[in-house]
Amino acid sequence: MRMGSALIYIGHKSVRLAVLLIALCAITFWLVSQSPIDPVQAYVGADMMRVGPEQRAEIAEYWGLNAPPLERFVRWGSAVVHGDFGTSMIFRRPVIDVIQERFTASLVLMGAAWVFSGVLGFVLGIIAGARQGTWIDRLIKCYCLTLASTPAFWLGLLLLIVFAVWLGWAPVGLGVPMGVPADEVTLGDHLRHMILPAVTLSIIGVANVALHTRQKLVNVLASDYVLFARAKGESEPAILWRHGMRNVALPAITLQFASLSELFGGSVLAEQVFSYPGLGQATVAAGLRGDVPLLLGAVIFSALFVFTGNLLADIIYRFVDPRIRLGGSV
């Protein structure tokens, strides 16, 4: 790849991202300001009974809730530019700190599920595609199509019932054991609490990549170049390995990157079911309790996450596939 076109590409993508984010901020802020949910009530929560009208006014004044929307937007905008994204009303800490902590936890969870579902989905897709039309192909296809219709949170509940309640292998909830100081929580504890949500996400995530890989492989195996490979005397396993893998792997990886949006959606639900302290759970809490700064921050970071996935997918296609890398066009 020549330097010039790479630079143009990066520049183009950066401008796109900046415009997207600004638009997103404005639309999101406008949407959130339409909400009938009273932020003061959300802030005070269960103590509502004990808070008088004067205190309410003070709280509203303190958080700047009475200012006109535009002024609030500007105030929030400057907080974003300064990098702290305002202060979370339920955590009473800068939003950026909350997101950093929670996003890290979510990334670990999603990363594990991403790798596991990618590998498993790829393998299942290869098996189904190579044995197209047989019972194992139908079984895998049926399994994937059913998973695509399965509510992720319900699957999580079932796993909880089986592995946590019946078998007692896994904890019922929370990201870490209760009543243990944060610095005494071991890596093992973290892992134990991550397994079930990660498995839930992986099981759901398999479907997409498996079905896609299967279809690609079916097309590859029906291609002229595989026919010619057979004519050259290459054995079926060799064909699958040399031509099948080569031509299927790239689209599969690309797809896996491009589906970060679904992965994030799944993790919101899984985190809720398993009380896993990730960004998804924080987003839900922010929405339920009217923590506008945190909700806005979560929206922006989830958009960044999806954008990164799509960007990586695009880069892989553009810079790895020789037909685009060397040919300029297909």
């Binding site: 026919l227 050259k232 005397g233």
Partner: protein, 331 residues
């Protein structure tokens, strides 16, 4: 039978008519081959699509047999049947002998790519994500694949850096030479070229055909499957005329002269006259649909000299004037 591997540079492109004597044992002998596909339609109904019907031909070492027929008439399936790479829903009947031994699926598997090689139609038959050199080497089956690859690249004037290119980077002419190289590197005794010159520049067509002639002159047997009768006549020794999935006539190249009086079958004659008059419509009327073949002669619905007998009995192949014909009226 010698398996000549040396590169002979002094080959000529003239047609050695005398060398096609019928005494030599055929390398490939196809008799009464039929290929059909099973298709399911409308629930429980099964339908047979017969794409090749009682086809017979032979190819001898040192000769080029051209199988000529119109585009899309299933000629490629003949190549696939010989190589044993038809899809699973294909049914084959008949006999195929290679060096006088039955060509069983097991034997096809061990022979293809070694004894029998295919020169495919286009660059689409190369893996788009695999470098060309590797694809040529993978056809070599020997321990010294790299050396063999360098040798065939030299033979076909391909620069060394071509091996590092991807198929889409090849020019039309380069692609042809690479495809011929993959067939040549294996030292195959039977080379099947399936429509090797589709829509190419005349110079490239000529070059590719010359390469095939060279292979035959090295005592290999070459089967050239093409719709281009003109091109076939420039290099082939014998022409098998393919119509509706069968060979209606096998003629010597010399038979294609003047008004086609030397030809044996009405279809061949019509084909030749159409070509001689520079008309593009080579096929008189439409070929019968593969799911509803007529019970009699396959050409009868379009034949000008057909008699009632033609519609009821399918003509057997018979020897006639040093060739073969499948028509009861031929004399």
């Amino acid at each position: 039978m010698s398996n000549q591997t040396a590169v002979s540079q002094n080959t000529s492109t003239t047609i050695p008519e005398a060398s096609t004597g019928g005494t030599m044992m055929p390398l490939l002998d196809v008799r009464d081959l039929s290929v059909s596909f099973v298709q399911y339609t409308g629930g429980l109904q099964m339908r047979f699509l017969t794409v090749i019907t009682s086809l017979s031909l032979t190819v001898r070492p040192g000769e080029i047999l051209a199988v000529v027929g119109s585009s899309g008439s299933g000629k490629s399936l003949l190549a696939h049947a010989i190589l044993g790479i038809l899809p699973n829903n294909a049914r084959i009947s008949g006999t195929m002998l290679y060096v006088n031994e039955d060509l069983t699926p097991e034997r096809q598997m061990s022979l293809r790519g070694r004894e029998i090689a295919l020169v495919p139609q286009s660059v689409n038959f190369l893996d788009p994500l695999m470098r060309v050199g590797f694809q040529v080497r993978s056809a070599a089956h020997g321990s010294e694949a790299a050396k063999a690859q360098r040798r065939v690249f030299d033979r076909y004037h391909l620069a060394d850096q071509v091996k590092g290119l991807f198929p889409f980077q090849l020019s039309g002419g380069m692609a042809r030479r690479v495809l011929v190289a993959t067939a040549t590197i294996s030292d195959a005794r039977l080379v099947i070229a399936d429509e090797p010159t589709p829509g190419l520049h005349p110079a490239v067509v000529k070059e590719t055909l010359n390469h095939l002639r060279e292979l035959a002159d090295e005592d290999r047997a070459v089967m050239l499957i093409t719709h281009d009768i003109e091109a076939a006549l420039t290099i082939a020794d014998r022409i098998a005329v393919f119509y509706a999935g069968t060979t209606v006539e096998i003629a010597l190249v010399a038979d294609f002269t003047d008004n086609g009086e030397a030809l044996r079958h009405p279809y061949s004659k019509a084909l030749w006259r159409a070509l001689a008059k520079n008309e593009f419509v080579a096929t008189p009327g439409a070929q019968p649909s593969p799911d509803a073949l007529p019970p009699g002669c396959l050409f009868q619905p379009n034949c000008k000299i057909a008699t009632p007998e033609c519609a009821s009995v399918r003509p057997k192949e018979r020897e006639l004037r040093g060739g073969m014909v499948r028509c009861i009226h031929a004399a």
